[in-house]
């Protein structure tokens, strides 16, 4: 099936070449970082994780989001998602891959990374994160590839795949819970030390991830004849609206706990976010952008009239993606290290080298998404399934469909 990614127009190849160029340029900077060390980053003794690990955190959410399509389809037999499931799974593959690459580029000694496997340490959450991320990557790869392959041959999905699908649904929740546990179990970091962190992660994942998926599907609709279908789109948008409400609600819970209790340790990071701490206001404009973006996206997503407007919906989704990215891909990590263990503030802002290397990882993810989506849409096109008109029958009816075709 992979050969389908080799057929494309000049625009497709121009996009691929562009991604390869970014990967090449970013790869050069990464080699430089390998030679010089992480001194090329703005990370420090006090802010010892930065942009890379922040992107890991955000992308774990994107990976976990596919479940918002898979779960209604398999658990509730919501047939309108039938042809979207594969895109959720393929997006998860790319996101998992990017997550792992962001860990690799963050390591001081990447050539030793297999020590995590050689010396397995179950008391370390990072060990479990490695397991759940790899597991989720392979689950989606096996499920997605098998289902697409059998679809192409007009055969029913094999029975064993259902077990894996159910496992992957539970697994999706685990990857984000475990990633939250990376942070929320650390005794010295007040901002992370909160039981609601995992729930916050899941809520933001289930709004930001499907939002990215919907936006990608808009692109797919533009460049191919595949149409995700307006009914399905509307329903995903509804899921996004609910998840974003939960996400904002959880954030407000943090604010209430910190400021009503009056405990300084709980307030410091939030002060750093919105008014600055010890004169450091690096994140203030960003976090206000997040706050305003969150409110605006909710205002556009909650009323059905606005949400179901084909022009407004993409705008609302873009605002939502930006807002959630600032919250999780920027604020969460820097905020966790501010104030530092000495109640001081150490500045951090990603260096251009960090951004270039991150661009490399994003471009690799983009390439994987492009290739996988290309394969998926070309198979769907060959099967002449598009959700424009009637939604094709459920999976259970597949054998008879296949029989008819024969």
């Amino acid at each position: 099936m992979l050969e389908r990614a080799l057929k494309g127009g000049p625009k497709y190849w121009a996009w691929i070449l562009f991604l390869l160029a970014v990967i090449g340029a970013g790869g050069g900077v990464w080699i430089w970082q390998l030679m010089e060390g992480l001194t090329l980053t703005d990370m420090s003794r006090d802010v010892s994780w930065g942009f890379y690990i922040a992107q890991l955190t955000y992308l774990v959410g994107v990976a976990a989001s596919g479940v918002m399509i898979v779960l209604p389809y398999y658990f509730h037999h919501y047939k309108k998602y039938k042809h979207l499931v594969i895109f959720g799974e393929f997006l998860a593959i790319a996101a998992c891959l990017m997550c792992m690459l962001f860990v690799v580029v963050d390591l001081g000694q990447p050539q030793r990374m297999l020590n995590i496997v050689f010396h397995p340490t179950p008391n370390s959450i990072l060990f479990w994160d490695m397991i759940v991320l790899n597991g989720y990557l392979f689950l989606n790869l096996i499920i997605g590839w098998t289902c697409l392959g059998t679809d192409l041959r007009n055969q029913p999905h094999p029975k064993w795949i259902k077990g894996l699908v159910y496992l992957s649904i539970v697994w999706a929740f685990s990857i984000h819970t475990v990633t939250a546990f990376l942070y929320q179990g650390l005794p010295g970091r007040h901002f992370w030390l909160t039981a609601i962190l995992a729930a916050r992660f899941l809520a933001s994942a289930f709004c930001a991830g499907p939002a990215i998926l919907l936006l990608l599907l808009q692109v797919v609709k533009k460049v191919t004849s595949f149409d995700p279908g307006w009914e399905a789109t509307k329903n995903i948008a509804r899921t996004i609206a609910y998840a974003m409400c939960a996400n904002v609600f959880f954030f407000l819970l943090e604010i209430f706990t910190a400021f009503y209790s009056g405990i300084p340790g709980h307030q410091h990071t939030l002060e750093f976010f919105f008014v600055g701490l010890d004169g450091n206001t690096t994140l203030v404009p960003w976090m206000w952008t997040f706050a305003i973006g969150a409110v605006v996206s909710l205002a556009l997503l909650i009323p059905p009239k606005l949400r179901e407007n084909k022009t407004i919906l993409p705008i609302a989704l873009i605002i939502l993606v930006i807002a959630t990215w600032i919250d999780k891909g920027l604020g969460l990590l820097i905020g966790g290290f501010t104030p530092n263990p000495f109640e001081g503030v150490t500045s951090y802002w990603p260096s251009w080298q960090e951004l270039a290397i991150s661009a490399m990882v994003f471009a690799i993810g983009g390439l994987v998404i492009t290739v996988l989506f290309k394969v998926a849409t070309s198979v769907k096109q060959e099967l002449e399934v598009s959700q424009k008109g009637d939604v094709p029958g459920p999976v259970e009816e597949k054998p008879s469909e296949a029989a008819e075709a024969a």
């Binding site: 001081g108 970091r189 263990p341």
Partner: protein
């Protein structure tokens, strides 16, 4: 094919040759140490059930004094001295022992009007060698581990540089080699290994000196500057000098609410 002695020998030879090529490659990949890189243990080596330290801040409390301790420790352990053009430490510096103000060290805001003299003191900071060390809990490769005598030690050859321990430590005791440390070493102690870029390091309670029957470098130096300024011994031995110091003085530890049970006590 019949297995003759000749073919067996050929196979055995090839396997041995492959092993010779492969095992160094594997050990480079996993960063296993070469021979003889651990601390040398001599006859008079010091042992304890739980090593602990008591610092008398009435005697050690100035920047200059702590700089002396820092020098003694850092020279002994080949800790690089990384400064910017103006000679100030950069935020990517490495330190095993250093000094901090009262509010940096005891962060819970114990008193809004502390005694001036106490507030103005400089306090030595180092790894607390906690009884429940979060850094050991989070390390994904067991590169940071707790010895039976309570010392939280590190295997620099196994560390992958993920810096999870730095996020886990509530005391900011850990440093990362953001760059190759060797060009920043001005005096080299050939009895202690230097580190490579990309690994974390921290105070080791002078485990290497204890193995040779010596007391920690900072303790030795402190008592040189001001006798009785630092005590070091077995916390579980009632007659040890640390227990005696704890019996006789009011002491506090850093961030007790984190539940890590630090092994470094401060006489105020």
């Amino acid at each position: 094919m019949k297995r003759t002695r000749r073919s067996f020998l050929k196979f055995a030879g090839a396997t041995a040759a492959a092993g010779l090529c492969f095992s160094p490659a594997l050990s480079i990949a996993s960063g296993s140490p070469g021979h003889g890189s651990g601390p040398k243990v001599t006859e008079g080596s010091k042992h304890a059930q739980r090593w602990a330290m008591v610092i008398d801040t009435n005697k050690i409390n100035t920047k200059e004094q702590i700089l002396e301790l820092e020098k003694a420790c850092h020279v002994w352990h080949n800790v690089p001295h990384i400064v910017d053009e103006e000679g100030n430490p950069t935020k990517q510096e490495l330190k095993w022992i250093w000094g901090g103000h009262f509010h940096e060290v005891f962060t819970e805001k114990h008193n809004n009007f502390p005694a001036e003299e106490i507030e103005n003191r400089e306090y030595p900071l180092l790894c607390n060698h906690c009884e429940n060390p979060p850094c050991v809990r989070v390390c994904p490769t067991k590169a940071t581990y707790q010895r039976p005598d309570g010392i939280v030690a590190m295997d620099y050859h196994r560390c992958i540089g993920c810096r999870y321990c730095m996020a886990g430590c509530p005391f900011g005791a850990r440093s990362f080699n953001f760059m190759d440390p060797r060009p920043y070493l001005h005096e080299l102690n050939k009895d202690f290994p230097t580190r490579t870029r990309g690994v974390v390091e921290k105070c080791n309670f002078c485990v290497d000196r204890l193995a040779q029957g010596l007391r920690p470098a900072c303790v030795e130096k402190a008592n040189e500057i001001a006798p009785g300024a630092m005590f070091f011994g077995d916390l579980l031995q009632e007659d040890s000098e640390v227990r005696q110091a704890l019996r006789e003085h009011f002491t506090i530890r850093r961030k007790p609410s984190a539940g890590t049970e630090p092994g470094v006590y401060y006489i105020i």
